[in-house]
């Protein structure tokens, strides 16, 4: 199996830097997602790895071998495209055989490998069909099978589930993940769907404007984002602007002076007193109560329920607090406050995080 290293990768299109200074090491068996809004450079990065784009600068190493300059057909990659790109004039079997023919695999072995991969994607009896005779989900799985049957060193997936309907998409996330774990192939997965990236990835690379903002496991990205962009892109977030009042790196805690009073936050590093920072807290970390909390240790912000919506598993609120601060809160579906109610929003210091601007 293969380790992938990307060193100082940059790609410019004219004056525009699509990718700038991309650094990443991807371990054997690992599934990495490149996540970001459209135009962030994630697809360009993938296409550089595949060999469809020539990097302006930098190196791409497959097991310490630099592949920059090598045409895609000599990189031994498997790639799945957003629109599947199955050859319409070939049957499923011919599609699967294509890569094997290019590698001069003997006929008998070819038949065996095709049968095996069809089994793996659970479409054993569709070999003689043409792509147009398959459903979207089936085409998706054949595209995966076609990429994997050649036993590539690296599997590249470019928004492979984006064209499926929501229900199927969620199922396919687990299918792709379990398949990748079973086969253990090093995989780079491009998506703009944060939920998809969270479900599928070992680690997520969050990109904006051609730059990597953060690399980390899904829970790390979610609970300890390094920038406002990352916090905003992954899930719902409340920002409370403030000034550092005192920080204690040893205790891992930091106090902030904000328009809604002093707030405490877990933070492992020491920050200069007086520095302007943003405290972030996720909607589900906040709970609502009618009375002020008894303990003095938790953060509490008073406010008034501005809007309320029911989502089944949660009830969402938008709470208007002092200084035009609007807090988004997700609480138990059965904890019911009405619009106009005066409430206290409380959250633990451990569930808050700081983004030093």
């Amino acid at each position: 199996m293969t380790e992938l290293a990307i060193r100082g990768l940059s790609k410019r299109f004219g004056d525009v830097a699509a990718v700038d200074g991309f650094e990443l090491e991807i371990g054997d068996h690992e599934l990495i997602s490149l996540l970001g809004p459209s135009g962030c450079g994630k697809t360009t990065t993938l296409r550089c790895i595949a060999g469809f784009e020539e990097p302006t600068a930098g190196h791409i190493l497959f097991d310490d071998r630099d592949v920059v300059g090598l045409p895609p057909e000599n990189r031994n990659i498997g790639m799945v495209f957003q629109n599947y790109a199955l050859f319409p004039h070939m049957t499923v079997r011919q599609n699967l055989a294509f890569g094997l023919e290019m590698r001069s695999v003997p006929k008998s072995e070819m038949a065996e490998r095709i049968a095996r991969v069809l089994e793996t994607v659970q479409l054993g009896d569709l070999g003689e069909r043409y792509p147009r005779q398959l459903s979207g989900g089936q085409q998706q799985r054949i595209a995966l099978a076609r990429a994997m049957v050649v036993e590539p060193s690296i599997l590249l997936l470019d928004e492979p589930l984006a064209n499926l309907d929501a229900k199927l998409r969620e199922e396919m996330r687990f299918f792709v993940r379990s398949l990748q774990k079973r086969i253990g192939i090093t995989t780079v997965y491009v998506t703009h769907d944060q939920a998809e990236a969270m479900v599928i990835s070992d680690r997520i690379v969050v990109m904006f404007d051609g730059h990597i903002h953060q690399v980390g496991a899904p829970d790390e990205i979610y609970s300890r984002p390094v920038s406002r962009e990352v916090a905003n892109f992954i899930g719902l977030t409340n920002f409370v602007e403030g000034r550092v009042q005192g920080a204690d790196a040893a205790a891992g805690e930091c106090r902030l002076e904000t328009a809604v009073g002093t707030l405490r936050c877990a933070y492992p590093e020491t920050l200069d007193v007086g520095r302007e920072v943003a405290l972030i807290v996720r909607p589900e970390a906040i709970s609502l109560s009618a009375a002020a909390p008894a303990e003095s240790g938790t953060n509490a912000i008073p406010g008034r329920v501005g809007e309320r919506y029911f989502l089944g598993n949660i009830t969402g609120y938008r709470i208007s607090c002092a200084d035009d601060l609007l807090l988004q809160v997700q609480d138990d579906p059965w904890a019911s406050f009405d619009v106009g109610d005066e409430v206290w929003c409380t959250f633990d210091a451990a569930h808050a995080w700081i983004i030093p601007d």
Partner: protein, 297 residues
């Protein structure tokens, strides 16, 4: 609950009936227009076929009895048979050449021309937009000058190397048929999904193999449709052939024109019918190979 009685059920009902009648009349009228268009298109064909089996001496309608004598006259006429095969030969070579050129140029224009694409597309369609006779005259002048130019460059060429030869005629036919081939191929290239080629490359196919195994089979219907049109157009071409044909040779349309200037017997109708049959055969072959859908542009 009681329903209020409708004060005027009869006027309402008749209004609905009138509406239905109007819709129906409109529908019939519309169909009639469509039918008339088809009648307008097909009547000349029917008449020419009927006239060709006329037993009488002249091109008259209605025909006077059934006879295949004019077909016999046609097949026994050396002039007609010679020009038929000459036309088929010219059409064949013109098709081959303009298809090869068309594929090459269309690939470039659609794929690589970038911001020049629309301009280049327009240029190659010019022979379609300009009057054919202008193209023919321009070519004729060009041939005169080209000969003189080659001579001043010291290259010895036979007199009338372009003007009085199949070469000059073929160049003209290729020029006129190229836009049709280009349209067919570029239509299928515009719709071509680029990721199919990338998929092939990712699976280990070189550029050339990718073109041969993926691109070509997928744009094949466009190529065949373009080639078919080129063949029919070339077979049919009159103005260009009239000006550029060599002395002593004639394409079928020219021969036919010469013939009807002096004779007025149904041999002309027989020739026309044979031309129609050849066209129909070409269309049937396309239908068999790639389906008629590919004739949509």
């Amino acid at each position: 609950m009681t329903t209020a009685p409708d004060p005027s059920p009869i006027p309402n009902e008749s209004a609905a009936a009138r509406g239905r009648l109007q819709r129906k009349a409109g529908h019939v009228l519309y169909l009639a227009v469509v039918v008339l268009v088809y009648v307008y298109l097909l009547t000349p064909l029917v008449i020419v076929v009927l006239a060709s089996v006329n037993a009488g001496e002249f091109l008259t309608f209605p025909p006077q009895g059934f006879s295949l004598r004019w077909y016999v006259a046609f097949f026994e006429s050396e002039a007609f048979m010679g020009s038929l095969f000459f036309s088929l030969r010219v059409a064949f070579f013109a098709t081959i050449i303009s298809t090869a050129l068309g594929v090459t140029v269309a690939l470039y224009v659609v794929r690589f021309a970038g911001r020049w694409r629309e301009r280049l597309r327009l240029f190659i369609l010019l022979p379609l937009l300009l009057p054919e006779i202008l193209t023919a005259i321009a070519l004729l002048f060009f041939y005169y000058n080209a000969e003189a130019l080659l001579r001043t460059l010291g290259i010895e060429v036979a007199s009338g190397v372009f003007r009085n030869s199949v070469l000059g005629l073929l160049i003209g036919h290729v020029l006129i048929t190229l836009p049709f081939v280009f349209l067919g191929i570029s239509a299928s290239l515009y719709n071509f999904d680029h990721s199919l080629e990338e998929a092939a490359r990712s699976l280990g196919a070189s550029r050339l193999t990718t073109f041969r195994r993926v691109t070509l089979p997928i744009i094949k219907p466009g190529i065949i449709a373009g080639a078919l049109l080129a063949f029919i157009i070339s077979f049919d071409l009159f103005n260009i052939s009239l000006l550029l044909k060599g002395i002593g040779v004639a394409t079928l349309p020219i021969q036919l024109f010469d013939y009807v200037r002096w004779e007025y017997d149904p041999t002309a109708a027989a020739v026309a019918t044979v031309s129609i049959v050849i066209t129909v055969i070409a269309i049937l072959v396309t239908e068999k190979l790639v389906g008629l859908r590919s004739l949509r542009f």
